[in-house]
């Protein structure tokens, strides 16, 4: 089974190739640069280095969000089109779950999150159950303070993972005290190898039906719905 995994849903650009069940190559950068310009050259390069051709791929796995709207679409568009063109399945995996996998060996709950500005985060709560990550609390777009209050009430240890960890380290320890487990640097950046692994196990529906997980309505749409509610 040969898998190409793509994650452009946040600032990290990640690509991985699994070849016959082992990791053949992985590419990770964390730079404020344009995913649209860099994704396809990076795929091209990694495919060459791992001596893989598009025809040899059996599956594509893509981080489907939440994250940057544009970033999510670049990854999803690329994955959907390649999958459709090669007639192979495309699996969308939550960007939060892909990040949570980096702490999958812990017994504690795992809280991956991405900063969503104005005090909000995209987050969810995962836990290792019999060797696989299961969702404890649904993924949401929520004020971080509100979310942390809820987690603190559970009274359990929680591992926090986020590329934006430094922005929020203080507030996490304020709410969670010694229940918070914050790993060192590198675990906070999603790596596409984990994404590929997760996608290999998940079901994939028809390519056409695969859509981003934004976790948030378009502002104009939210306003419109609010207006409709008032009338």
């Amino acid at each position: 089974m040969n898998i190409l995994a793509i994650d452009t849903s946040n600032q990290v650009l990640g690509i991985a190739i699994l070849k016959d069940g082992s990791l053949a190559g992985e590419y990770t950068t964390n730079a404020k640069k344009n995913h649209s310009v860099r994704l396809m050259p990076a795929i091209d390069q990694l495919m060459k280095e791992t001596e893989m051709t598009p025809e040899q791929l059996d599956r594509i796995v893509v981080a489907k969000g939440p994250g940057s709207y544009t970033g999510v679409r670049i990854g999803l568009t690329t994955a959907k089109t390649m999958g459709w063109a090669l007639n192979i399945p495309v699996t969308g995996v939550s960007s939060l779950k892909a990040l949570a996998l980096q702490a999958q060996l812990t017994d504690a709950s795992i809280c991956p999150f991405f900063d969503a500005r104005r005090g909000l985060v995209y987050t969810g709560l995962y836990k290792n159950k019999d060797g696989a990550l299961s969702l404890e609390e649904n993924e949401v777009n929520i004020p971080f303070a509100e979310w942390l209050e809820k987690l603190a009430q559970r009274g359990e240890h929680v591992v926090f993972l986020s590329p934006d960890i430094e922005l929020h380290r203080q507030v996490i320890t304020d709410y969670m005290k010694d229940l918070a487990i914050i790993p060192e640097l590198v675990s906070h950046y999603p790596r596409a190898g984990y994404l590929a692994e997760a996608g290999a196990l998940e079901e994939s529906g028809p390519v056409h039906a695969l859509t981003p997980e934004y976790l948030r309505l378009v502002e104009a749409e939210a306003k419109w719905l609010e207006q409709q509610g008032k009338n």
């Binding site: 344009n34 649209s36 310009v37 860099r38 994704l39 396809m40 050259p41 795929i43 091209d44 598009p54 709207y69 544009t70 679409r73 670049i74 999803l76 568009t77 690329t78 994955a79 959907k80 089109t81 390649m82 459709w84 063109a85 090669l86 390519v207 056409h208 859509t211 981003p212 934004y214 378009v218 502002e219 104009a220 749409e221 419109w224």
Partner: protein
């Protein structure tokens, strides 16, 4: 299918239409699919860029599939994958550009970026072969430009709008008259039943200029309506529409006519969404009735955004040897002249 035939796939997602098409030899439509989003933007009174981008990513593979099915062809049979690179809404363009890159990569095909306005002009080549030099009037919601072409793939912009595009002015005035979105066609319909009895200004600008300006006209319409309301007078909407249209159309037709004479062109091509406007068509028909230039206005479905026009312009780029790299990006402010002068093998 003989070996010398060139088949090009075009992809267009610069605004609110998700489109793909296959064109043979740059002149013949094999298939042409457009998924319009007008219905979803209607409730917002205009195109919401984020909504447009979300639709594109949901529709794009379905649109591609239908395009190949209609043509009874496969991606393997394409000579190149071409896509609108700009100008347009950046988030919307990105979906098309990344689709084109992924398809070209998966199928080992050349990738080519196309300028949206070049596409609008080349829509005409699907109807009739070009004769150079030619003059193109491109009028749409985002553009009002006069362009001279001396040969395939080269563009000289001799005039452009200094503020609103013609289509934009139409939409804004339509909104003032409380007409539903999209306002342009509604205005055209209304104008046909009214009388052009209000003297709105014509912006001729400096002597000899081929530039346009529509913001003064738009303000004049709004002021006129406002003043009438204060005097408790009512102006007939259809008269306002007819008078507004008369002003826009007179300037467009006159400047196009003058440019056609000065550059001594053989053909005059009208392109873009506003080319569907009946008032404009009639005015240009009258203006060029006795002229030595041939006036070409494509059928409605080729005036509005579509991908056949991108494939048609992309065919010339392909034949001239242009190729994009895997780092091709969306360029929301892509310049037409510079696009025409870009080097081979970027």
């Amino acid at each position: 299918m003989t070996k010398n035939d060139v088949y090009i796939l075009g992809i267009e997602t610069s605004c609110d239409e998700t489109a793909a098409a296959i064109v043979k030899n740059g002149t013949e439509i094999v298939s042409n699919v457009v998924a319009s989003q007008i219905e979803s933007h209607k409730r917002f009174g205009g195109v919401v860029p984020e909504v447009a981008s979300r639709h594109h990513v949901e529709q794009i593979t379905m649109v591609l599939e239908e395009t190949f099915q209609q043509a009874d062809m496969t991606a393997e049979e394409m000579d190149a994958i071409t896509v609108t690179e700009g100008p347009g809404l950046v988030g919307a363009l990105l979906v098309g550009v990344n689709t084109a890159k992924a398809l070209a990569f998966a199928k080992h095909k050349p990738l080519i970026g196309v300028h949206h306005i070049a596409g609008h002009i080349y829509a005409n080549r699907l109807i009739k072969e070009f004769q150079f030099p030619l003059l193109a009037l491109v009028v749409s919601g985002g553009h009002t430009e006069l362009i001279v072409m001396h040969e395939h793939g080269s563009f000289e912009v001799i005039g452009e709008t200094r503020d609103d595009a013609a289509g934009e002015a139409y939409d804004k005035v339509a909104r003032t008259l409380n007409l539903p979105y999209p306002g342009g066609p509604q205005m055209d319909r209304l104008a046909a039943t009214g009388e052009a009895n209000i003297a709105f200004p014509r912006a001729w600008l400096e002597e000899g200029s081929y530039d346009f300006s529509f913001s003064g006209l738009k303000s004049s319409v709004i002021n006129t309506l406002h003043n009438a309301a204060q005097r408790k007078e009512t102006l007939k909407d259809e008269d306002v529409a007819a008078s507004f249209q008369a002003s826009v159309v007179e300037v467009l037709a006159e400047k196009t006519y003058r440019a056609a004479q000065q550059y001594d062109v053989k053909q005059v091509i009208v392109a873009g969404g506003v080319a569907a406007n009946k008032g404009l068509r009639t005015a240009l028909d009258n203006k060029f009735d006795d002229a030595k230039q041939e006036l070409l206005i494509p059928p409605l479905d080729l005036c509005t955004d579509n991908a056949a026009m991108i494939a048609a312009a992309g065919t010339i780029a392909y034949q001239q040897g242009h190729r994009a790299g895997w780092d091709l990006n969306a360029n929301p402010s892509l310049d037409l002249e510079r696009y025409g002068k870009r080097g081979l093998k970027r």
